[in-house]
Point group: D2
Chain length 341, copies 4
């Protein structure tokens, strides 16, 4: 079976695993207070071009979103997101479980537009009864989005302006950030993200680690007591080294970008093949998730040779599906799939 | 520096790490739905002597306690624990953050006695105003306790009887369970624990894994929606394989007990050395945590050669300290430490 | 100023206040355990035609919705509501603060249709990833709705069928229930509501009391510990008598229906006057809230003589406004308003 | 039956009820935005000798404690209280349900001593592992305490100093504040309380109203969004006038102190009678709750003529009981009781 189901179906990139092997028997203090975590954080700061960033390692994406959002919001505030946003759909109500509403803006391509946000905010504060409503207190975006799309620098700049006008932190879910950064269709650099977002995370789980995400506060705005709240949430590993070592490897010799480039190269080849063979794209994604519309016959045939996922049943003759490439995609699998399209 | 600070200062047992290396590039489904997790669960069931146990893998101890307790309790119920219990002291209020009070019973040795519990329950239901109070709805114990002590079979049986009388689940925190099972001073088997406890966890983090705990429900009593609640809590790893593979290794060829025995052997040698050299034990622990009372001079001298922790300042001339052995304790370190006592 | 702003701008119906005066110095036990509360509950049971109903008095609508929903839902479940529903818009995120998502169905007239609900449920369980989503676990409706509309018996029956098929309790917010029951356009009786809903509340605050709502469980399904959870939520009055006495008066000699009829008579006269004078209705409401579209000039002129509220700015020339009648509406005010339209 | 069960067994003081009657049909805006609430707040400010106090009306004591504590604490903080404190014992875990631990200091007389608090704080910050613990973030006291005792000015000053040193707000539960202010054994004035406490509440429910408490912030420190959070908690009355009018009456012509004095006069006569007739006091209370030790025979005999409550079974021959006087205590009842002692 050819593997295009998701970007978390294999273990860790070999360089990442090597690090864990090398340092396995070294005795280190717990809870992320070790030299490896410190070193990894410094490498991330260098990657981001800012030596004053506050970095906290966590284990997974939902956990990171949960902690980032619930510790930044005041109790009467809600987070604004696209209705397609991961936090609104596929995190089992984690944000609401933490006590906060997710206010949604309709989105066709996974993005929140600055214009829509501005209109929403004006309407909110224009409503006489808004003291009886959840206050929009933060904006959540993902980059790449759940639909593989990307923000341009202009789009993110506009969003950030609206956020600042209303004093709302802008938070970027970077579960697949690497795949966005190396896309040829993006003009958004990591330095832009650091400047425009108040907090964001660099995803490890989907870009080469066994687990782990790096949550980054860009404005010296990590909430007081964040480490205690991490523990309180059940999100602090006794062996913090597990994540620290993996990120150390990921940010050594540009590994993070190198392996992201591999995934994007594979994804673009796959997209081109789909287009050339007459398939209709469901959305034109510039990143490692490719969405295409299949007929029931095509779905049945391709399901026999490759693992991928059904995204949405459009109607009885059209099914949107998703193929995902990653750092682990094998060239031979890609060739085989293309030849069988 | 000789390492006796804790049982989570090294990485994973080499056999555990080997498993992660071997299966690294195998493509597997996410969220614990893979073959490795299934196999590991079966091995745990065999270890426990019961093929109908419900097992859920989680990443850390606080997370496991939080999920176990908050999903078993009804909203108006509280968990009863020793005042020394980990959930009452060192988990940053995770249980309360989930909405539940920790009701405490005074304890000198880390254990909850069945007699104390019974008296407490009688007093509670004898109070006319108890409808305005938190209902005791579950009992939390640790084995070994935070002070290294163990429950005898008779003690656990009595506790379980009181719990059943009042229809409260009995939950055992087994962060260091292996070290308790192999202690020569314990008559409590894993089969007893399965029979007497309603749920418990087998700790990995402190007994040979990089991360991971196995939460076990013994009475077909895993709450409905448990997997969804795990996601909701930010506690579900996309790469569930990470924990599954480690537990598979841990429960192959009796590795879990073998490496626990090593820790206990080291701990007993250390205790004997302390006694022989005239040190006073703070508590007589039969497991891998050894507590001894030092003078300020002894503390200063030993601090220069070994890492260990200060437990409690008793008075100006007496300081209780803790030395911990583990699967990773090196024989030569132990010898060196003993020779320097 | 003529008072048409809302149905909670005056105190209590004189008969209700009289009861408080009469029994003021009688010494009674606290927390709703008194004879007055018992008697009021019995009168409510007789009104509903069922002597086995479980009744709990609470102080306000948001509080009642919060307790009803948060105690009925399991932790991983969400409540389904119309996007216009009070709990989704004007309760400051109370439901989410209790940990639960509000899943919304688009609605034009304030109602949830059984057909829409059924389609939603089929889509939910048809989604392979639904274990990572909030489970719809309860349905919230209001009757009359926030837009003054009513469910027919057929509509409520269909909704109840879908709820039962999916084992979801059906909950009716009856903040203005009286006004719905006496509307000539409704074929839904209190007996129907008792049969079709799993729980509902009879609102006092908007129908003649100073405060107080009666939450009713129809299937012997009041959650265990409900009284303790009421206390825990800060929702239990020490002087439970305050609500008990008021409901006793409200359900003596049919007062509840009598005063509701007065409000509806006034509302229908007002609606007819609007229509006759050429105003456009925003929605054709059969209950005590009347929605009409004004021009900016009309708005300015009417604002000088009457208190009412702006509902929605449709465009620069059309503003939807709301006039509300109640048990307290004075005939002379109504006449004056009509003459000035 | 003579009524000494509690101070919430009757309705409202006649002057309070009169106000509700007089203004019943006046049309007023909802949610506490009316003239009556404003006027009542001003009267409270005058009573307190400070015109800049922030005042919020709420309905009951548990609700007030819940909102005050949960909105002032940061998420990783806990409230410190005497182990006898109402929030720790009789509020059904409301504080924990809001996510916060109650850290307790042992107390024999219901008070928290500044010295004990200081020692506790020093120990907390002296503990190397305190980042894994709940941070003490606020101090809760009651005045009078649950045992009827009072803080002296010196005691409250010391407490306030420790609180300021550690930047913790000091919060006073004044459910029975009036009874404390008029006690001849207290040197603590309302002005002292305003100066020394960061927030406190003036209780209405136990001192003459049907319901209602006035929560007061003394340092311009009401949390942002407090009104929205009140709604979110289900604690905002649509008819805020209900509480506003009652407090208006209570703080007109010194009514609050007058009716408190009546209760204290009765309580002191009762205490003296107990002492003269040879009863042993359980605690020497200077306020409206009187605690005395009875034999089983005395208990049986007195239970036939008066309602009072059993506080604690000391042993088979000694039972501590509580007699409570209030604004509503009738002179003839008191005489009758004394004559039957």
């Amino acid at each position: 079976m050819l593997s295009f189901l998701s970007d978390y179906t294999e273990g860790a990139h070999p360089e990442v695993l090597k690090k864990l092997n090398e340092l396995n028997m070294v005795s280190l203090p717990g809870y992320g207070e070790d030299e490896c975590c410190r070193e990894a954080k410094n490498k991330i700061r260098r990657f981001c071009g800012r030596d004053d960033l506050q970095v906290q390692f966590l284990t997974g994406g939902t956990q990171t979103n949960l902690l980032a959002i619930s510790t930044m919001l005041k109790r009467y505030e809600a987070v604004v997101a696209a209705d397609t946003g991961h936090i609104n759909v596929h995190e089992a109500g984690a944000i609401e479980f933490s006590g906060h509403k997710v206010l949604t803006l309709p989105s066709k391509d996974g993005r929140v537009s600055g214009e829509d946000l501005e209109e929403y905010m004006e309407r909110f504060y224009g409503d006489d009864t808004h003291e009886h409503m959840c206050f929009p207190g933060m904006v959540y975006i993902s980059h790449p989005t759940e639909l593989g799309t990307l923000y341009s620098k202009a789009q993110l700049t506009k969003l950030a302006e609206v956020c600042r006008k209303y004093e709302m932190p802008l938070y970027m879910d970077g579960a697949r950030l690497g795949y966005g950064l190396v896309s040829s269709e993006s003009d958004l650099t990591i330095e832009d993200i650091v400047e425009l977002c108040d907090l964001f995370y660099i995803g490890g789980t989907k870009v080469g680690t066994l687990c782990g995400e790096a949550l980054i506060f860009t404005k010296n705005n990590m909430p007081r007591g964040f480490s205690t709240m991490t523990k309180q949430q059940g999100a602090m590993l006794a062996k913090g080294r597990l994540v620290g070592m993996q990120f150390d490897a990921l940010f050594t010799d540009d590994l993070y970008l190198k392996i992201s480039r591999h995934a994007i190269k594979c994804a673009m080849e796959l997209k081109q093949a789909f287009v050339e063979k007459g398939y209709t794209l469901y959305i034109d994604s510039p990143t490692n998730q490719q969405f295409v519309i299949l007929s029931p016959e095509q779905l049945e045939r391709l399901s026999k040779i490759a693992a991928f996922s059904v995204w949405e049943k459009i109607d009885s003759q059209h099914i949107a599906v998703r193929f995902v490439t990653s750092w682990a995609t094998r060239e031979e699998d890609l060739k085989e799939l293309i030849s069988r399209l």
